[in-house]
Subunit: 177 residues, 2 copies
Amino acid sequence: MSLKHAILVLLEAESSTGYDLMRKFKQGVGYFWNAKHQQVYQQLKKLNNEGLINYSVREQSGKPDKKIYSISEQGQQELSTWINSPVKPSKTNDALLVKLYAGHLGSKDGILDELTRHQDSHTKTLNYLLKLEQTYQGLPPNQQQKYLYPYLTLRRGILGEQAWLSWAQEAQKEIKK
Amino acid sequence: MSLKHAILVLLEAESSTGYDLMRKFKQGVGYFWNAKHQQVYQQLKKLNNEGLINYSVREQSGKPDKKIYSISEQGQQELSTWINSPVKPSKTNDALLVKLYAGHLGSKDGILDELTRHQDSHTKTLNYLLKLEQTYQGLPPNQQQKYLYPYLTLRRGILGEQAWLSWAQEAQKEIKK
DNA sequence: GATCTCATGTAAATTGTTACATGATTTG
DNA sequence: CAAATCATGTAACAATTTACATGAGATC
């Protein structure tokens, strides 16, 4: 389990509201961690109860008050303990491949359509990641140094998406012939 | 959710026991779907209650009796309905990347060690998949035709692992300098 | 003698998803 | 005027993981 640690990591970088975190999972770091807002809010409550994070309230008119969460001393400790202990390689569960595996049960066109749909989605993701990469490359060298680790995860996202798209092209060619 | 469909797909190809399925998830199709034995047995029970699969018992001496499950008419229908409806792109939750993202909180050596450990694991997986590919390529053309779809999923596994390893090399180089 | 494979399960805990709920402000 | 964004949450359900449980035969 690492939603806990994902949140701590994000809060270590910058104090945020639940809504902020949710957005980060949707955009910023969605290529390696995903969580819905319901999950985020509940986890924040739990982390707060455990004393790993604190929050201060900023009142707003017309909107619900903002709770701005930040990592606590204890949270920092938890993080550095976690950082120094090994994590297991993650496992994939990919419904598209289950479908493709049983491709003989469907129509060729249906399968090609599905592949194309997923291809579009992966292309969009890739383009977004490439834009992030350009931003990084536009930074002055000392800033690049600072953000090296996040950049490396970004590279993983990019190489992963590119590999996916190469595969999809290969697969489509094979299916068509 | 597609453990249900993953099981149906595997049973459509070949009637199996829970133990057989478990092994298939561990080895055969583990590069795109994973499930533990507890999950498999429970899901089999559920699918049986829903009438999507049936089983016959083979008695054994010294070992628990085998329940050999096969897909039912209704299960076949469920499968073809599912095959013809779109699935969502899968989302990754990768703890290693969470860790790497917060790399500045750990030691360089610790991170490089962790990367190397994961590299070993991915290398093993890749080698295994390449062996499967060789088996496929040793088949006569008509058999290759028959197993084209499973082969395409295998290709996804291979390209995915290769991309992972390329990334890891790149990342290690960047971290070291 | 210890560990691995075969073979099945139950129970509890944790994690993740879907649905429900509210309400103002901004954008198209 | 409809939809998206901001901002928070609860509740129910589904999926997954971890722990517990048994026991024979094979391998090291």
